[in-house]
């Protein structure tokens, strides 16, 4: 398939707002999806991501705002004319048609006139046979590409979940749209299948080069498949960026807590008036500009904790009490309670080798000393936004 990115512009949403009854689901949202990218709308349930997808598809009308696909405004166009294809969470296959019938339907709708689709009457059309032959050829091609050509005569009820999903995908592909829309397509699959299909979808995107807009609540899917992620919550985009950007430079506390598993520890800190913060008895210079006494939040990723082994032995440290140690095989998760007001909980992630070394060195006895690495520590202001303050400097060995 040749590259189709829908032109220079992929999809552009401007000022979209949508309310259902009294609930404002989306409130003034702008988004520019680049042609050919794999963009994921990520967020918890109720954040509006599915609604946004449906607005792009034309299944919902926004109260305000415009949608443009491949450079042209599509607000007034019905879904079939927007040059998009959608894969539903439940697949929405026509149960009474064979796989071949399902795949052929979009093409039939487009290429046959109404009377050529009516039962009985349709046989009166001489050109129908020719058109159907062409359609069948395309259907076979798509079926082969998705490895479901041996299932063409079956009905959806006779297929497994993974096979049904591929038929749904095929029905979208057969239309060669500018944009593929996917609404949580993996959520009905079991865990092993999910991994396999994830790879296939990523491959598919690479092969087709078409714009993909993908909705999910699973951050692992988002992180592994996307060119960019739009993290949403309560109808707004919290951050739009590549997976690395969202992980390493989260725009806000909300983003930082959502992305990353296990989630980061959030500690209360107080600005000390000299650009630093006080964390219990620890003092860390950051170089921020908050007034003395301002309440700030310090986020620490699990891999940002280290045990004082080797070169990292010096550096700002916190003491903690070990509550539980989980062995995940390749790494250990230590569930600790930090020695700070309120005894906040945190998770420390240690590669297995480090754990073994630490245990040999007797560093796992209470009280633990945890050193903070320079990467993975973020300072957030009172409004939740991440400060540009330099954690590397703060955590350099003094």
């Amino acid at each position: 398939m040749t590259e189709r990115g829908g032109g220079a512009e992929g999809v552009r949403l401007s000022g979209i707002a949508k309310a259902f009854g009294a609930t404002q689901v989306i409130d003034g949202l702008d988004l520019a999806v680049r042609a050919g990218e794999f963009l994921t709308l990520l967020g918890p349930s109720g954040c509006g991501k599915s609604t946004l997808l449906r607005i792009i598809a034309g299944l919902e009308r926004p109260d305000r705002g415009t949608v443009a696909i491949a450079g042209r405004t599509v607000d007034h166009l019905p879904p079939a004319e927007r040059d998009v294809a959608m894969v539903f969470q439940s697949y929405a296959l026509y149960p009474h048609m064979t796989v071949a019938g399902n795949l052929a339907t979009p093409l039939e709708m487009r290429r046959l006139a109404l009377f050529e689709r009516l039962p009985l009457v349709k046989h009166l059309s001489p050109r129908r046979r020719r058109v159907m032959r062409g359609i069948l050829a395309e259907v076979c091609a798509v079926a082969e590409a998705l490895r479901i050509d041996h299932l063409l005569e079956r009905k959806p009820a006779q297929l497994s979940g993974g096979q049904r999903q591929r038929v749904a995908l095929g029905r979208a592909m057969v239309r060669r749209p500018s944009v593929f829309l996917m609404d949580e397509p993996l959520s009905n699959l079991d865990a092993a299948l999910r991994v396999e299909v994830r790879h296939e979808l990523a491959d598919l995107h690479a092969r087709l080069g078409t714009t993909f807009i993908y909705v999910t609540h699973d951050q692992l899917e988002a992180m592994t498949m996307s060119s960019r992620i739009a993290l949403m919550d309560r109808g707004r985009i919290l951050q739009l960026g590549t997976p690395e950007q969202l992980y390493d430079r989260p725009a806000s506390l909300a983003v930082a807590t959502f992305i990353g598993s296990p989630s980061l520890a959030v500690l209360e800190a107080v600005a000390d008036g000299a650009g630093g913060i006080r964390l219990g008895s620890l003092r860390l210079p950051f170089g921020h500009r908050f007034a003395s006494g301002t309440r700030l939040s310090l986020g620490i990723r699990p891999e940002a904790f280290a045990l004082p082994l080797g070169p990292e032995a010096d550096g700002p440290a916190l003491s903690a009490r070990l509550a539980r140690a989980e062995n995940l095989g390749a790494e250990w998760h230590l569930h600790v309670r930090l020695d700070l007001p309120g005894e906040p909980a945190a998770i420390v992630r240690l590669p297995a080798a480090e754990y073994a070394a630490a245990r040999a060195a007797g560093l796992l006895e209470d009280p633990l000393t945890l050193v903070l690495r320079s990467r993975g520590v973020h300072l957030f202001g009172p409004d939740g936004a991440r400060t540009a303050a330099d954690s590397a400097r703060a955590l350099a060995a003094e």
Binding site: M86, F88, A92, P95
Partner: protein, 309 residues
């Protein structure tokens, strides 16, 4: 080293089996009244019916003879019975398509309404709950050639009112109309139930595929998904129509001149007016045969309704 003393075999088995056996006995006891009634009300009478149909028993007769299949031969040659069969099938032929299609049409229209839906449901279902004898009487008055509203409307157009219930050619269609009147609401409810099982995203997928127009939506999604429901409604309506009795009994008594004679009414007359009980039993067996065919069709349709993916 003592050998373990085996527990007496008896006590293990009785201890394990007894609760199960007790339960089976309880089950049988629970089902006993139903079984007895089943025998008394269905099983025994059917045997008696078959036996009766092979005699020439008449109520109050001194002697009775066995006559083999003579009653059945007579039935198929009997012009009155044949007419009642023909009338009944004609009645079904009118009521069945009309009540199913109208029921479907109304269901489709009502399903799409939001605020007025409850109101329409009530209006169309009212006839179903009403006592047919009473409402048939009312219809008789409504269709009255001089006093009824139909007559008044036709008068306004300067037309005479036909005698709906006394003209041989019009009687059966008129009764069919009343039958349809009572059946449409019932079918509507069944179709509404079927429509509500169609997943909404199927319509959305169809919209994306380009099947957004009403005709396309109906052909691609609604009608195929309603298939089992439609089949089921059809068979149920056929059975109901076949068992027509009340309207005939109250309005026409089979007349005029047998134009509205239907199977059940014919049987009723033979058995409880003329007291030809042997013959009536044979007619009842024939009736039963038809009903069983319909019931098998209904069971088949119900099964498909439940198992449709």
């Amino acid at each position: 080293m003592d050998a373990a003393v085996p527990l007496p075999r008896e006590s293990i088995t009785t201890r394990v089996l007894r609760p199960q056996r007790r339960r089976a006995l309880t089950g049988a006891a629970f089902a006993a009244p139903a079984t007895i009634l089943l025998a008394l009300i269905h099983v025994v009478p059917i045997f008696v019916l078959f036996a009766l149909s092979a005699t020439d028993y008449e109520l109050g007769a001194i002697a009775t003879r066995a006559v083999g299949l003579a009653n059945y031969e007579r039935a198929f040659a009997d012009p009155a019975f044949r007419r009642s069969l023909a009338n009944t099938f004609l009645y079904v032929a009118i009521v069945l398509p009309a009540s199913v299609l109208l029921g479907l049409l109304v269901a489709l229209l009502v399903h799409a309404r939001t605020r007025s839906r409850s109101l329409y449901e009530v209006i169309y279902f009212l006839p179903v709950t009403s006592t047919l004898i009473a409402m048939a009487t009312v219809w008789q008055f409504v269709l009255h050639p001089t006093l009824g509203p139909v007559a008044a409307v036709l008068r306004a157009f300067d037309r005479a009112t036909p005698s709906f219930l006394t003209e041989p050619a019009l009687v059966l269609p008129t009764l069919a109309f009343i039958g349809i009147w009572q059946l449409v609401g019932f079918n509507m409810v069944l179709f509404l139930a079927g429509l509500s099982t169609i997943p909404r995203d199927l319509y959305e997928a169809a919209a994306l595929d380009g099947a957004a127009g009403a005709v396309d939506r109906f052909l691609r999604v609604t009608w195929p998904m309603l298939g089992p429901t439609t089949m089921f409604v059809t068979v149920t309506s056929a059975i109901t129509a076949f068992k027509v009795f009340d309207t005939v009994a109250v309005l026409t008594q089979g007349g005029p001149m047998g134009a509205s004679s239907v199977v059940l009414y014919a049987i009723y007359l033979e058995a409880f007016q003329y007291f030809h009980l042997g013959y009536a039993a044979a007619l009842t067996v024939i009736f039963l045969a038809f009903v069983i065919v319909f019931a098998l069709a209904q069971a088949f349709a119900f099964d498909r309704r439940v198992h449709y993916a």
